[in-house]
Subunit: 150 residues, 2 copies
Amino acid sequence: MSPASTTEPDLRIGDVARRVGTTARTIRYYEEIGLLPGGAGRPSGQHRVYTEADVERLQEIMRLRDLLGVSLDEVGRLVEAEEARALLRREWHEDDPAPERRREILAEALGHIDAQLALVHRRSVELEALATELEARRSKVRRRMKEHGG
Amino acid sequence: MSPASTTEPDLRIGDVARRVGTTARTIRYYEEIGLLPGGAGRPSGQHRVYTEADVERLQEIMRLRDLLGVSLDEVGRLVEAEEARALLRREWHEDDPAPERRREILAEALGHIDAQLALVHRRSVELEALATELEARRSKVRRRMKEHGG
DNA sequence: TTGCTCCTCACGTCACGTGAGGTGGC
DNA sequence: TTGCTCCTCACGTCACGTGAGGTGGC
């Protein structure tokens, strides 16, 4: 609620891990394989520092990993596509591109989003089917409990 | 549609793998860790044979693995709980258990089902949230495409 | 100064992938 | 008899877990 202060406090790896529900080891591993920035300028042995933006990126990575069930390599491609879209938005606003280029940008963005949505919808349908089955079984058991004086 | 013939044709590991969308290696691995029966009576080097029941069990294993995102150890516990329920159903019908025992059986079954449903519902909510976000982004892009003569 | 968290190897584990080399059924 | 699928090691890989031993900031 307070206005953003001029300097954000830096976070340490343990803080980040606790906040997103993972381990320091996982964060270091994601840095190692290039999923997280990793601060190229950090001397070996020095402590890692993170910002709120890093926390959000990590949360997005973990969400895609858990919900879509894809490899970290694929997750990397998905978040890179996200950042490509962000870059394109900037190009859109700052460079005032030609109409043809505008259509290109939009078509590419739409392609990325549709591909992700296809993944999400397929899983969603499967999950709902499983939920329906389980609920039917539960109803059956409950009916029996009433019959037999639960 | 034809009546079940007296002898079902046995399936080989490649047939099973193709039908459920996995590999022979995975099936052998599941046998190794005890997720699939494995035919204790099979001499080493002999071909493995499977039935339709095995195909269904494997499909259920893969469904739980993919949709719930749990370890194979946990998947094993879930399918064992399923089989325990099947056994209890038999006890129910054949042994005509005492009312107290009946309540025990039902309470245990309900616990297992509720635990699975909790997992399924949490994932379902998260997936829906992701779907909603993606759909909002898609709408935004589509609106722009119309504005700029897509 | 004392804990606590952080650091870097480095080996272990889970869930398979991937050949190497060989045997058995349409 | 010729392919094709199957078999058993066994090493490789991905995504981390888990100490071992040491250094740095409230």
